[in-house]
């Protein structure tokens, strides 16, 4: 009787009415809400920039080459994340562990570079911003730190989650048949990369 109940429970877990695993569907719904969150931030940035009589050319204030490097690092982290998933799907846990560790490393490097960028902006005195470029200095400063800061917080959360998943992977908790956690956190990580691609263009380049 008990074995039958377990079997029924497992079948209920496997069969979903959408054909998509529940945790993966939950992550997609969460990401949709995140799309609206970042759309609000990006929309505010665009409207404020249009409406503002003075708006400095971002390349004169921000360090574009350093941020381009950071963009490249985040793209690297995305490809290592998808390679980790491909590794466990092909039954190669060694590849999964290696690429998860690399993803974690790239995420940490991204955050470190963003920290250095913030520190320089806040403490370097320029002609336009004699007291440093900070949220009090101008409307651009306020919107810049809000938008990139929220993105940085998302990257931080992603790094914490990937550290947890990597720990589980190193303990051998994921198998070729059961690795939904990696796919779910991978979706979040790629989304963070996707948002940065848009933010980099709109805030740093235009």
């Amino acid at each position: 009787m008990e074995a039958q109940a377990v079997l029924v429970h497992e079948r209920f877990d496997e069969e979903t009415n959408t054909g998509i695993p529940h945790d993966k569907m939950g992550m997609w719904v969460f990401l949709c809400s995140e799309v609206m969150f970042f759309t609000g931030l990006i929309g505010s940035y665009i409207v404020l920039r249009f409406a503002s009589p003075f708006w400095p050319q971002p390349s004169t204030v921000l360090n574009v080459p350093l941020t381009a490097l950071n963009t490249f690092i985040l793209i690297c982290s995305s490809v290592t994340m998808v390679q980790a998933l491909a590794g466990i799907r092909s039954g190669n846990p060694g590849k999964m562990k290696l690429f998860l560790c690399l993803t974690l490393m790239f995420g940490a490097i991204f955050l470190s570079i963003q920290g250095v960028e913030y520190w320089k902006l806040l403490h370097e005195h320029t002609e336009h911003y004699p007291h440093g470029f900070n949220p009090h200095a101008s409307l651009f400063g306020s919107v810049f730190f809000t938008t990139t800061g929220f993105h940085g917080f998302h990257v931080f959360c992603g790094v914490v989650c990937i550290a947890f998943v990597t720990g589980k992977a190193l303990l051998g908790k994921y198998t070729q048949a059961s690795h939904q956690g990696i796919e779910t956190i991978g979706l979040y990580w790629h989304f963070v990369d996707l948002v940065w691609i848009v933010l980099f263009t709109i805030i740093y380049l235009i």
Partner: protein, 96 residues
């Protein structure tokens, strides 16, 4: 979602495309004079949309997902575009 289709995806090719487009984007923004604002914005937003689409389709595997998921994501993107579009139109359209 079949695993065979994922195996067929060349992730490294997508990576090099993304990295290459990032370099092109940075060069485009530094070479093009900032007086040509429309060309600058259209070009850079175009590059960003291509890159974001590649990440969503190949890294997030949206290309191989069920249509129902695509509809959910598309409806969110449409709502987002409306939100930004209304904000821009509010500023650009002449006021009575």
């Amino acid at each position: 979602m079949s695993h065979e289709t994922h195996k067929a995806t060349n992730y490294m090719a997508i990576f090099w495309w993304l990295a290459g487009l990032t370099v092109v984007e940075v060069c485009y923004s530094s070479v093009l004079p900032h007086e040509h604002k429309a060309a600058l914005i259209l070009g850079l937003v175009g590059f960003a949309v291509i890159k974001a689409t590649m990440v969503a389709l190949y890294f997030m595997h949206l290309k191989y997902e069920r249509k129902s998921l695509g509809i959910i994501v598309a409806s969110t993107l449409i709502l987002g575009c409306i939100l930004v579009g209304v904000g821009i139109a509010e500023h650009l359209l002449p006021r009575p």
